[in-house]
Structures are given as C-alpha cells and as structure tokens.
C-alpha cells in the first residue's frame, strides 16, 4: 500500500546492532555482573571460613551440602520475588505477599488437620489447591483496589498486609497448628533427581513465568504499561486487565511460598510465617536489575537476586557473625551491591573505556 515510497536499500550490516561492543563492554555493561560478583565474593568468604563449604556429597541418593541448603532455602523468596517482579514492572508494588503467604500456610495446615485422613497424599493435594485458590481471591482483591479503584499500590496492598495477618490468625484460631502429613512435608524437605523439591518447584515457576511472559504477549504489554502508561492507553492496551493479572499472579506465587514455608516447619504460625519476606523479595527484584520505576524486567535477574539473598543468609552464621549483628551485615552487603549497580558508579567505571560510551550514546 505504500509502494510509491522508496524501499530501504538492503543493508545487511545495518540489520545488526552497530558493530558489537567490545567484550569488556559487554561484561561491564551486563546488568547481572555485580550481583554475580557479589555472590562469588560471598562464596569465597565462606570457603575461607569453612574450607568444605562448597563440598556437595551424595547420601541416600540425595545431594547434601551448603550449596544445596542455599538453593532449597531460596525457594520461598524466589517465588515471592517472581510475582513481585511482574508487579514492579507495571510500576506497582505488593506489600501484602508476606500476609498472603501466612494465609496460604494457615489454610493448607488447618485443612490438613481437619481432614479425616490427615496423612494421605490426597489430603495434602486438596489442602494446597484450596490454599492457592484462596490466594487467587486475595490477588483479585489487590488487583481490584489498584486497577479499578485506582488506589496507589503501596497503600492498596498495605491493607491486605495488615488485614491478612489478622485473617491468618482467625483461620488458625491464633494457635500454632502442627501437621503430620509426609506428602506435605516432602514439598519442603523432599528430593527429586537428587535436588530439593522446593527449589525445583520455584525453578519450575520461574520457567513457567518465562514462558507465560515471553511466549505470549503478556511480558511486552506489562513492560509497555510500566514504561509509558499514557502511550499504552492510547495504543489500546487494556492496562486494567494487565494490572489485575499481575497482582493475582503475585498472590499465587506468595501462596506457594507460604505453603512451602509451612511444609518446612510442619506447622503454621500466623504471626511469623513469611514475616518481612516482601522486603527480601523487593530486594531480590532490585538486585536483579528490575527498576522500581517499572518497565523492563528480568526474571533471570530475580533468580540471581533471590540466590544472593539466600547465600547471604547462610553466610552470616557460617562466618561467625554474632546474631545481633545479623541485620546490620545484611544491610552493608545490600548497600554495597546497590551502590556498584547505580548508574553513577557504572558511569565512573565506563569513563576509562571511551569505546563503551560511544556505543551507549547511539
């Protein structure tokens, strides 16, 4: 239809990005460089403190060792951060994930305890399904407040952050409910192909999310809404549906995390399950390179961020930092990672290599 306009002359060179940046530039420019470096540094510190830290041995057909503990323990934060990544990409935030995790744990555990056959596999499956169904409702609620009523996400999800713990308390009658269901416990402590099931579940969710966002148009539309809501609206993007979807998804992820935490302790304490996990999750997302201002998101980054946080948690006792200094040490590491990731610090690193700045300018 526009055949009278001169077609672009075929310029095969121009199809690729202008002459690839140098290897140095690609390495220093990669958003995951510093989180990965931080991880390596942490592991080295651990090995110095405990030379056998990285040893993994096979026992009863399973893998054992600190690295395996780290990946297993990273599962809840990874799950919560996964949902948080999409929420943050739309310029939102979800503070209620910890409370949602508590509700999910509470629902699953009370359901198992109330079942006629407490130990059966079917009981565990039913309980987890019910817990996740409740989480869908909670996510729909958050999405409603944000996308329909237009309440700022931090306030909208604060409602459920506070009310959710109360709800979890009501479900458990304020008791610490202990369950005895082998299938349920396996979710946290079991192994498949030698690896912790919890980690496989979380990794599976990451893979599923990657498929969902990158194989459908969901990822592109989420990013469009996060980068420029006004332009997206004028292009006909149903921002409301997108927003609603991501909050629901975040709640389901949080629910799964809550179930795994409950399975790990074989009990639920509505007061403490998933407490402050929203902050670890936000941290994992930010360390992974997804900006809090929304837009482009990185699931791989979130994976690295969650693993870094789990490694950090393991490092603290291993190198003998007194538990009182626990949070302080964590804060120092986080600040260090954020500082080297900041645009200013990166720019300072780049100045020494003019070839890099040239590429960036185009």
């Amino acid at each position: 239809m526009t055949d009278t306009l001169a077609p672009a002359p075929p310029t095969p060179g121009a199809r690729k990005a202008p002459a690839g940046p140098s290897r140095w530039a690609r390495v220093t420019g990669h958003p995951l460089l510093y989180p990965l470096l931080a991880m390596v540094v942490l592991l080295i510190i651990n090995v110095i403190a405990t030379p056998t830290f990285l040893n993994v041995r096979v026992q009863d057909g399973h893998l054992f060792g600190s690295p395996i503990d780290i990946i297993r323990n990273s599962a809840p934060v990874l799950l919560v951060a996964l949902g948080m990544t999409l929420v943050i990409a739309t310029r939102g935030i979800d503070l209620s994930v910890g409370a949602v995790a508590a509700i999910a744990g509470a629902v699953a555990c009370t359901r198992i305890v109330a079942a006629p056959d407490e130990g059966a596999l079917v009981t565990a499956v039913m309980a987890v399904t019910l817990a996740l169904a409740v989480c869908v409702l909670l996510g729909v609620w958050n999405g409603f407040l944000v996308s329909v009523l237009g309440i700022q996400p931090i306030i909208a999800t604060l409602v459920l952050m506070v009310a959710g713990r109360g709800l979890a308390m009501l479900i458990t009658d304020g008791q610490i409910t202990t369950v005895n269901n082998p299938a349920f416990s396996k979710l946290a402590s079991g192994y498949l192909f030698g690896l912790p099931i919890a980690f496989l579940v979380a990794l599976g969710m990451v893979g599923l999310t990657a498929l969902l966002t990158r194989r459908t148009a969901l990822g592109m539309l989420i990013e469009a809404v996060g980068i420029n809501p006004a332009a997206s609206r004028l292009a006909g993007v149903r921002a409301r549906t997108i927003t609603w979807t991501v909050y629901t998804f975040a709640a389901v992820c949080a629910g799964l995390a809550g179930v795994i935490i409950a399975a790990n302790t074989r009990s639920v304490n509505a007061n403490s399950l998933g407490l402050w996990i929203e902050l670890d999750a936000i941290l994992a997302v930010v360390i992974g390179g997804t900006a809090l201002t929304g837009g482009r998101f990185s699931l791989a980054g979130t994976l690295v961020g969650a693993l870094l946080i789990a490694t950090l948690a393991r490092t603290i006792p291993n190198i003998g930092i007194p538990s009182e200094a626990n949070y302080l040490f964590k804060a120092v590491v986080v600040v260090a990672v954020c500082v080297v990731q900041s645009p200013r610090a990166r720019a300072a690193l780049r100045v020494r290599r003019p070839s890099v700045t040239k590429v960036e300018a185009r």
Binding site: R15, M220, G236
Partner: protein, 526 residues
Amino acid sequence: MTQTYQEPLVTSHHASAPVIEMLDISITFGNVHALDQVSLRLYPGEVHALMGENGAGKSTLIKALTGVYSIDAGTITVGGQRHEFHSPSAAQAAGISTVYQEINLVPNLTVAENMLLGREPRRFGGIHVREMNRRAQQTLRALGLDIDPASVLGEHPIAVQQLVAIARAVDVDARVLILDEPTSSLDGDEVEKLFDVLRRLRADGVAIVFVSHFLDQIYEIADRMTILRNGTLIEERMVADTPRLELVQLMIGRELEELDRLGRGSGSVPDPSRVPVLEVVGLSRKGALEATDLSLYDGEVVGVAGLLGSGRTELARLLFGADSADHGEIAIRSTRRRLRSPRHAIDRKLAFTSEDRKAEGIVGDLTVADNMLLALQASRGWLRPIPQSVRTRLVQQYMEALNIRPADPQALMRNLSGGNQQKVLLARWLITDPHVLILDEPTRGIDIGAKAQIQSLVAELASKGMSVVFISAELEEVLRLSHRMVVMRDRRKIAELSNDDVRVGDLLRIIATEATDVEQEGSSDD
C-alpha cells in the same frame, strides 16, 4: 532580525526605566539554539505578552529569567544592576515570581498556609495561626478576592487556586510576576476575575509577563508584547498598534503574498448521499471544546487549522475517546456509538497519534518492533501473541515502506530520531488497518525528509480510501494535503471550507478575525 524598540506607553507613572532588561540572550541545548540573541524589556506597571507558537522559545526565555536555565550569552539587568540567577529561589528573592499553569501549591493545606508557606508568623515557637490568617486575608482583600484564608486549598476550583498562587506570588513583594498560560483551564468568568486582579497589580506598578494562546485575552489585557519565533526575537510591539492579522503573521512568520502563492490542494464538497465514516454532533467538553459538529468521509483528508489552544488537539482527543466528552453524539457509519476509551475507538477502526510523541506515543525502552506491533497486539489481547513469522513480515514490510532508520527492529525506540519515531508510530496504526486516521501534529519537530515522506503517505492513504484528520500548526501543510478544512479558534469550530483555491492568507484572516466577526464568517461558510 528587526528589533523595533519604542518607548512604552505605560499606563502608570512609575519610573520609565525598565525593571528588567534581558539583552541578546542565547541558550543552546546540544547543538540546538533554543534562544538566539533574544531581548526582552519589562517596565513597571505593564502587562507584557510573550507571543509565539510551540517551540518559539517562550518557556525557555522565562526559565532563563528565573534561573532555571543558565544562559550561554547575553545579559540580564534587574533594576539597573546586572544579575544572573542560578536558582528559582534566587530570582524569587529578587522579586521575580512565577505562577505556572500547573499549580505548585499544597492542596491539603489551607489557603493562608499556602500563601505564607516558609515565612509563617511565629509565636511561642509555633505558628501564629490567627496572625497568619489575618495577613492572608489582608493580601486577598487588596486583590479584591473573597476567599476564606482558613479553608483548605484543594477544595477550591482550579481558578481560585490559581488566584491564590498569584496572591502568594504578590505577597512576597513581587516586582515582576510571570504568568505562564494561567488561563488555559479557566472559563470566561474566571478569566475576568483573574484579569481584575492583574489590573490591580498593574496599577500598583508590578510588571506582569503574560503567556496565553488566546488572542482575545491578549488584546483585552496586554499593553505590549514580544513576539518570538523559532528561538529568535521577531519584534517588540505595542498591542494597540498591532492588528490581529499582523500578529498572526508575525507569529507564524511568512509574508501573506508569499503564502498565497503556496496554497494548493483540491477541494471536495461532501456528497450528501454518502454515509460519513464518522459523524459527530454537538461534541463538547468543559474547558476543552465547545459544541462541535464534524463529518468525515472515506478517502478524504480533513485538515484542522488553528493556533495552539484553539481546540484543535482537544477535538482530536474527543474524537478518539482519549478524553471523554460531556455532550455530543458520535456515529460511525451511521450507527450511534459511545467512545468511552481509546480501546473502544480502536475497535471501531479509529487511530490517533498524539501531538506529544514522547509522553503519549513512544514506549521508549521497548524495541522498534514492539512499538510497531503494540496496537495490534493490544487488540488481540495478551493470550494471542502475534506469530513470529507475521511479526517479522509486518515489521520488515513497514520498515522498508516507511524507510525507518536504523533498519534494526531490535533498536530501542528512544534511540531513534523524532522523524523515525513518528514513522514507527504511523506504522503502529497502519498495521491495525484503520478507517479513520487522526494525526495531531505528525510532522512537528522532525526533519524535512521525514516530513515530506509523511505528507506523501497521508495523501496516498486517503487516495486508497482512508479518512484522515490532519492537524497542524503549519497552514501550508494543511492546505497542501487537505480536501476540506476546519478552522478552530477559542475552543470551537469557526469555519469549515472546501479547499477550492483557498490560500494561506484566507485561513489566516479567518483565524485572526475577532469573535464578533466570526459569527458572520462562520454562517457564510455553512
């Protein structure tokens, strides 16, 4: 460059020396001359209008004066002494206050708190509320305003908030008051109230800089004006000595005769037997557009001419459902529809590119390919991604057809030049196969080559049956492309004419006519 300086015919008898003199101010951003040797003189007790179309340099000049931008060359003299402000607060301390279109006040504080924010009267280590309210009341009274100082600012209409902003500016002993488009969201009565306040201030010897797109208001309130175009000073004039037609010429900047030669285009008279693809009756929105009728037919380019603020953009936004209309009926192929959102409009085969490409067009951090396919993908919903082969084919096809550079679908949109971004946005809509294409200033701020390409594309689309609404501040462009033209002024359609031997001068005359003449002009065209 002509710089005709005349002695000011100032109404008051204050000192005849200028309170502010900006001389040969130049500012460059990168290699763009935002201001090139522009001068501005302000005398006490005058309302001085700063005139010019978008990109003329009005805001830049104001920001140079108030210390938001630092100047590259030139001098600023305040009260006879050389000055250069490095921050807005330094300018304010020297008695230069600015009131912006968007009000920079705190809506949940009271009127008095806002007026005295930062210099509250104190007592016993706390704020002396009664004294604060008394002082605010005093200032408001002096301006003839009846506003309760203890009421919460946010509960008042925008017009009142604007007046409070002015009262605050005046209360800090402003010698110079800068009003940047203060009237754009006010209605007639509110504007009158504002003007009463301005007249009082003028009588008190305040120098007022007034920026507005409404010519009627300029002629009502302003004494003198400085006309800018493309970052250069055109002339300083007395308002009373400048007929409207001449002012519009000075702003748009061509000699009438020269423009008349340029006028080309073929006219079309709507065939009453044809069904319009889009027809609106009495479309209006408070503060944006007064009741307007318009019919669009297949295969026709309808040009919309008018100055900034004439309602040309507002019309486009209402047609597309980007803003919702208060009144009016919309029929698409003679079926009545409600367009509550862009989504509805797109489903009815409408398309719209905003004049603000950066804020409302591009998604800068996404790739060119994603930007191009955004509207189509949004129509399909996220569950039905466009197959990879179709993506590649569409992107390839439009990149070549529109000659988009760099020809790299994976380039980030924000790294493209303005012209190429605009072409990607056009491709975004052409991919959705619209019946009506509404283009608001599609050629603003892009290079000549891209501009010519977009113009020929518009002509070609219409010849293939698309209905195009083409809005542009450049009358030559409107004339060259349109079959029919709609002239807007003061938020309404004042004329509609077929492009038979119409010349730029004719359009200028219609735009520049006074409100009272318009009635006759409009009726003769119907």
